[in-house]
Amino acid sequence: MDAGTLLVQWLISGLSLGGLYALMALGLSLVYSILRLVNFAYGELILVAGYTLFLLNPTPIPFLIVVGIAIALAAITSILTERIAFRPVRSADPNTGLITSFALSALLQNAALLFISPRPQGVPMPALFTDNVRIGAVFFAQRDLISLVVSLVLLALLVAFLTRTRLGIGLRAAADDFTMACLLGVNASRIIAAAFAISGLLAGVVAIFWVGRVGTVTADVGTTPVLVAFVAIVIGGMGSLTGAAIGGFLLGFLNVGLQFVLPSDLLAFRQAFLFGIVILVLLFRPAGLIASGRTVDRV
């Protein structure tokens, strides 16, 4: 393949994967920047959406509506986890919230194992997702192009929401300095609920494409995405929303790029190379690419 073709392939694949990573990272980062809570149960929202796709697949409901229901259920689950699990420990030590999120994650995963199945379940995707399309000399799965468009549109909507609406400005203010925002009259509970709702919505959208890539859903389907999202917000800069998005895209491009540049016998160690680069980034920028300037605990 010539260089131009490779470049197009890298750009599109990188944007597609990076877009998903960025959405996930933003969902995780939104909650983190407001509550200083790394919500490891975030991955289980992908589980909820994934199993919804699986369970509703045999029904005559059209695919796009199933997708809508799956995304809505992820958002609702996110709001409920905040209400039921995180709100009671909100004023406790941040580590309590972290442990709560692990507990919640284990609970939901085991519920899926117990009540649905311990085996991977196939989620057939419609032709729209699985067909290939030719761009120049390269073939792409339409799914990748759709995910690219959807994530870019969603990112643009999110930016518009965060900069133009009252709730969005409140969210960004709260993400910057939660206490100060409350002292100016921002309703803490409402802003936290909104953060969890958006976080769940993003997880739901990511779930569709994540499950679409793999084609199956398992109880641990959320583990890798949440880990990737976490790494993305760390290299982007904990607490910075822009940083989270940049971190997501960076990971996506690196991941796809390594696939091209590594010799085939080293491809199995792609993750090692990827995280090696992450470590290098952190060596030079310990607070992440965009430091939020508030890495110390809040008083």
Binding site: R166, I169, A173, D177, T179, M180, L183, G185, A188
Partner: protein, 304 residues
């Protein structure tokens, strides 16, 4: 639908209801009452309706801006330390009260207590007769109380304009009104040129001004400033305070200010309130407070 032409916190205002037997007779007073925050909107509606009916014999008159912030024997206990001990203080709208005292005397704790940042151990706080102590911070803010911190606490990653807009939006303004108010406030504090820059990129003195812009944007009835001029040089702090006084006098808000610069405090304040070890040791006009032996002893040491 009625679209209010302006929004203004009317809580604490007095309403007089007058009745007139005919449009030309002199009115007689039938009742008066104090508006609480909940009724404020209703009252506006009533007065709009009354004005709407021509020849209506009833008049509703609003006498605004009579509210006060009342701190009633407030105590705050931190584990073994009594940070505030039965402190009482009333702040009227339109007056500037200086809160002074040596380091650790409880000045900042008092502001923290008023704004719901730390819980009270004892005592109550009222805004125009309505209890605000025990409410969550955002509800207290909705009673028209704004504060600044001794250390600058801007929304660093937001732009200058967004910092002020966020405050207006948090106070319940619409997106459009918030933007308009924010632009006007930046203009007043000479920050318009910086509107699109992030807050953290501003020079220190302008960050201080932005903090005040953010607190002032919705013309709050009560403003609590914790060392607003900290870290500024003399000419910077003079110009900041001149802007501040102008705004305070124009908006008629009550200002409680903490500062260590006695020259400035003496010049600025209508009244002083002195704390030492969490207790009130003196209050009154600046001249009498400066002459008070307890105050001199607290600052310079010595037996009382």
């Amino acid at each position: 639908m009625l679209v209010p032409l302006f929004t203004y916190d009317l809580s604490g205002s007095t309403v007089l209801r007058l009745s007139m037997s005919s449009p030309r007779s002199s009115p007689t007073l039938c009742s008066y009452s104090t508006v609480n925050a909940k009724d404020a909107k209703t009252i506006i509606l009533i007065s709009v309706l009354c004005c709407g009916c021509r020849g209506s014999p009833d008049l509703v008159i609003l006498i605004a801006m009579t509210n006060s912030l009342q701190i009633d024997t407030v105590s705050v206990q931190f584990a073994g330390l009594r940070a505030l001990d039965a402190v009482s203080l009333t702040l009227q709208r339109g007056e500037i009260v200086g809160l002074i005292g040596p380091n650790g005397s409880g000045k900042t704790t008092l502001i923290n207590a008023i704004t719901g940042y730390v819980p009270l151990t004892n005592g109550q706080i009222y805004v125009s007769g309505r209890r605000i102590s025990g409410l969550p911070p955002h509800r207290i803010a909705h009673h028209g109380i704004r504060r600044t911190f001794q250390t600058i606490r801007l929304f660093k990653q937001l732009t200058t304009l967004e910092n002020v807009e966020a405050a207006a939006v948090a106070a319940g303004q619409s997106r459009r009104a918030a933007s308009k108010l924010a632009h006007a406030t930046l203009e007043r504090l000479a920050l318009s040129d910086r509107a699109r820059q992030t807050a953290e990129s501003l020079p220190y003195g302008e960050q201080r001004r932005l903090e005040i812009a953010r607190a002032l944007v919705t013309a709050p009835p009560f403003l609590l400033l914790d060392e607003p001029a900290a870290g500024l040089n003399e000419s910077e702090s003079d110009s900041l305070l001149n802007i501040l006084i102008g705004i305070v006098r124009a908006d008629g808000c009550g200002l409680l200010i903490i500062d260590h610069d006695m020259r400035l405090i003496m010049r600025l304040c209508d009244r002083l309130h002195v704390l030492n070890y969490g207790r009130t040791i003196a209050e009154g006009d600046p001249a009498s407070v400066r002459a008070n032996p307890d105050v001199i002893a607290a600052y310079l040491g010595g037996r009382r």
